[in-house]
C-alpha cells in the first residue's frame, strides 16, 4: 500500500512537472515512466524467504568475507566504537547467539561441531516481527514475501524497534554514517543513510529484485567452493516444498534463536 502511494506520488509529481511542456510529450513520458516501475522479469520471488545456516559446514575464513561484502555493498559504515557500530550481519559465540542453551557439558560438542568458529547472526526476518508491531510510523514493515524492511526516509529514530528486537539486529546511526564512508568506496546501487535513522539486514531485497541471491549467500558459496567445503548459508522459499532450504529443514533438526518468544524467526540453524 505504501509502495503504491509512493508510486502514485511520483506519477503525479512527474506529470505536473511535464505538464509545463506540450500534451504529446506528457502522454509519451507518462507511459514511459509507468513502464519503468514494472517488476523486473528476472526478479526472484517467493512466498516466504528464509535462510538455513548449516553450522556443521564451518566457514573456512570465519565468515569474514561475507560480512565484509554485505557491509560494502550496502554502504554500512565501519565504526570502530562498539557503542556506535552499525551491524547487518556479524558473528558471536554460541552462548551469546543462543543464550541459555549452553551448559558445561555441551561445551565440548559445540567446540567440535563449530570447530571453534562463532555463529553468524543477522536479522531473523520474523514472521511475527515485534519491531514492525512497535514502529509508530510504519517505517519498518513486513513484505508479503516475509522480508522485514526499513524505510530510511520515514524513520524518526525513536528506537522503539531496537528495544523491541530480541536479537540485537538493529542499529541506529548515532552520527552521520557518511563520515565513515570513503567516497571512492560508496556503492551507488544502494542508498547511504543519514544520522538518526535505524537500519538492519534486508535479505538483499534490492538484489532479489534483479534476480540475484543475497550477497552473503553468494559469497559463502564461492568461499566454500574455493576451500572445497560445503557452504554455510542457504537461502530460498521455505513455503516451496521442493526448495533447498525446505529440504534441509525436513532432513535435519534445526533450531532458531529464542523461538520461545513467538516472533517466528526465519533463520534456521543446523548444528
Amino acid at each position: 500500500m505504501m509502495e503504491s502511494s509512493r508510486r502514485n506520488f511520483l506519477k503525479i509529481a512527474g506529470l505536473s512537472v511535464l505538464g509545463i511542456g506540450s500534451g504529446a510529450v506528457v502522454g509519451s513520458r507518462a507511459r514511459g515512466a509507468s513502464k519503468a516501475f514494472s517488476p523486473n522479469p528476472e526478479a526472484l520471488t517467493a512466498k516466504r524467504w528464509a535462510m538455513v545456516v548449516d553450522l556443521r559446514a564451518g566457514c573456512p575464513d570465519g565468515c569474514k568475507e561475507c560480512i565484509e561484502v554485505c557491509h560494502r555493498i550496502h554502504n554500512v559504515p565501519k565504526i570502530d566504537n562498539p557503542k556506535e557500530e552499525v551491524k547487518w550481519i556479524w558473528t558471536d559465540f554460541y552462548e551469546h547467539a543462543f543464550p541459555g542453551m549452553e551448559s558445561r557439558y555441551t561445551e565440548e560438542f559445540v567446540e567440535e561441531a563449530l570447530q571453534g568458529s562463532p555463529v553468524i547472526l543477522l536479522c531473523n526476518h520474523c514472521d511475527n516481527p515485534p519491531c514492525v508491531r512497535v514502529c509508530p510510523t510504519k517505517a519498518t514493515f513486513r513484505r508479503k514475501d516475509g522480508i522485514v524492511m526499513m524505510d530510511y526516509h520515514r524513520c524518526i529514530g525513536c528506537r522503539f524497534c531496537m528495544a523491541g528486537c530480541p536479537f540485537g539486529a538493529r542499529s541506529l546511526n548515532w552520527t552521520d554514517p557518511r563520515r565513515y564512508l570513503k567516497p571512492e568506496e560508496v556503492t551507488p546501487d544502494y542508498p547511504t543513510r543519514t544520522r538518526g535513522v535505524v537500519e538492519k539486514c534486508n535479505f538483499c531485497a534490492e538484489r532479489l529484485a534483479v534476480g540475484k541471491i543475497p550477497a552473503c549467500v553468494e559469497i559463502c558459496r564461492k568461499v566454500a567452493e574455493k576451500a572445497g567445503t560445503e557452504p554455510v548459508l542457504h537461502f530460498g522459499d521455505v513455503e516451496d516444498a521442493d526448495s533447498e532450504v525446505r529440504e534441509m529443514i525436513r532432513a535435519h533438526h534445526t533450531i532458531r534463536r529464542k523461538s520461545h518468544l513467538g516472533t517466528m524467526p526465519q533463520v534456521y540453524y543446523i548444528l
Binding site: 512497535v134 510510523t137 524513520c155 538518526g196
Partner: protein
C-alpha cells in the same frame, strides 16, 4: 490572567532568570546534538534509551499530581483540596510538557516527528502515548485555566467544564498505563515483561507527584501569602505514604518472582542492580541509594509524629521523589537493556551534553510551573485580600 506572571519580586525574577539561563545552556547543547547526532549522548546500540526516556517515564508519573487532588475534590467533594487542586493541575501541565519535550529531544530525526501523525499506526504504543499525553495536557490546561478564571471573577466555574474534569480522572490512569505498555509488551526484554508494570507505574506516580506537590506547597507558603492549609498537606502526605508503600511492595513482588523462580533472564537484571554483572557496577550505588531513601521515607511517613512535623515531612517527600526518580528513571529504563539480548553487558552513563540538555528541559518545566503557579497564587492572594475587606 497571564499578566500576573509579569509582575513579581526580585527573587521571582532571579529564579526566572536562572531557569532561562539553564534553558539556554541546554538549548545550545541541543543544537550541537542536532548537528552531530545522538552520538553526543552516552547511549549505544545496546543501551539505546537513556536519560531522556528515563526522565519522560518518571515525569509521566509526576503528572499524576493532578488526579490525586481532582478525584477527592470533585468526585468526593473533599473541600480541603479546593485551594490546591489548581496547583496539582498546573504541575501536571508542566510535567506533561517536559515528557513531550524529552520525547522530541530523544528522536534521531526530530524533523520527522510529524510522521507519527502522517502515518498513524495504532499497533504502536507510542502512537497511543502521543494521544493520551497530549490529551492530558489539553485537559489540565483547559480545566485549570477555566476554574481559576472563574475564581478570579468570584463566580462558579461554568457548567461545561464539568465533563472535562470527570474525563480527566480516567485519562490520568491512561497516561501511566499506556506509558507502562511501552515497556511491558516487548518480547525480548524480560526486565520489563511483567504484568504489574502498569500498577507499578500508577503506584509510584501517586507517590512522586503528590510528594513534589507538598514540597511546592511548602515553598509557596514560605515565599507568598498563600496558605494551602495544614489538613490539605497532611491528607496529601497520607496519599504519598500509602502510594509509596504499595510502590515498594510491587518492587518486592518483582524480586520474589525473579529470585525464587531463578529464571536467568529475570535474575540478571536485578543482579545487575544489586551487585553488578560481570564486574559492571555503574548502577549499584544508585540502586542502594534508592533502597535506603525509600525505606527512610516510609519510616518518616508512617510515623505520625514525624509526618506531622513539616520540616521532617519535607525531608520525607524529597526522599520519596529522589528514590522514585532513581527507580523509575535510571533503574527501570537503563537496566532493561543490561544485559543485552545477546547476554553481553554494555553499560551506560550519560555524557555532559546529555546531562545539560536534560537540565535544560527540567528548567523549562520548572519555568512553566513557576509562571502558572505565579498566576494561580496571585489570583488566590487577590481573592483572600478582597474577602478580608
Amino acid at each position: 490572567m497571564i499578566e500576573k506572571a509579569l509582575v513579581g519580586s526580585r527573587r521571582y525574577w532571579g529564579w526566572v532568570a536562572l531557569l532561562l539561563v539553564l534553558m539556554g545552556i541546554g538549548f545550545l547543547f541541543y543544537l550541537r546534538q542536532l548537528s552531530y547526532g545522538l552520538g553526543i549522548t552516552g547511549m549505544s546500540r545496546d543501551v539505546s534509551w537513556g536519560l531522556y526516556i528515563a526522565q519522560f517515564t518518571f515525569l509521566v508519573g509526576v503528572a499524576a499530581s493532578a488526579v490525586m487532588l481532582v478525584l477527592p475534590y470533585y468526585l468526593h467533594n473533599y473541600k480541603v483540596f479546593g485551594r490546591i487542586t489548581i496547583l496539582g493541575e498546573f504541575l501536571a501541565v508542566a510535567s506533561v510538557l517536559m515528557c513531550l519535550t524529552f520525547i522530541i529531544v530523544d528522536l534521531g530525526r526530530p524533523d520527522r516527528a510529524f510522521n507519527v501523525l502522517l502515518y498513524p499506526s495504532p499497533n504502536s504504543i507510542l502512537f497511543w502515548d502521543m494521544i493520551v499525553l497530549n490529551g492530558y495536557l489539553f485537559l489540565n490546561i483547559l480545566v485549570g485555566w477555566t476554574v481559576l478564571g472563574a475564581e478570579r471573577k468570584g463566580v462558579k466555574p461554568p457548567k461545561w467544564v464539568k465533563p472535562f474534569i470527570y474525563i480527566s480522572i480516567p485519562w490520568a490512569i491512561s497516561i501511566h498505563t499506556v506509558t507502562a505498555f511501552i515497556y511491558a509488551g516487548l518480547p525480548g526484554r524480560s526486565f520489563w515483561l511483567t504484568a504489574i508494570m502498569a500498577p507499578r507505574f500508577l503506584s509510584s506516580a501517586f507517590a512522586s507527584g503528590p510528594a513534589l506537590l507538598i514540597l511546592a506547597c511548602f515553598i509557596l507558603r514560605k515565599f507568598t501569602r498563600f496558605d494551602p492549609g495544614r489538613e490539605a498537606i497532611q491528607t496529601l502526605a497520607k496519599i504519598v505514604t500509602y502510594a509509596m508503600a504499595i510502590s515498594i511492595f510491587f518492587v518486592l513482588m518483582e524480586l520474589f518472582t525473579a529470585f525464587y523462580s531463578k529464571v536467568p533472564e529475570h535474575v540478571y537484571h536485578f543482579k545487575y542492580l544489586f551487585v553488578g554483572l560481570d564486574g559492571h557496577t555503574t548502577l549499584v550505588p544508585w540502586w542502594w541509594a534508592f533502597m535506603v531513601l525509600s525505606v527512610l521515607s516510609l519510616i518518616l511517613l508512617f510515623n505520625p509524629k514525624t509526618r506531622n512535623n513539616d520540616a521532617i515531612l519535607g525531608v520525607a517527600c524529597a526522599a520519596v521523589f529522589i528514590s522514585l526518580w532513581i527507580e523509575k528513571g535510571l533503574g527501570l529504563v537503563v537496566t532493561g537493556f543490561i544485559p543485552n539480548p545477546l547476554d553481553r553487558v554494555f553499560e551506560y552513563s550519560p555524557t555532559w551534553p546529555e546531562v545539560l540538555i536534560t537540565l535544560g528541559v527540567w528548567s523549562m518545566g520548572f519555568l512553566v510551573m513557576t509562571i502558572l503557579y505565579k498566576v494561580a497564587v496571585s489570583v488566590k492572594e487577590e481573592g483572600a485580600g478582597e474577602a478580608a475587606h
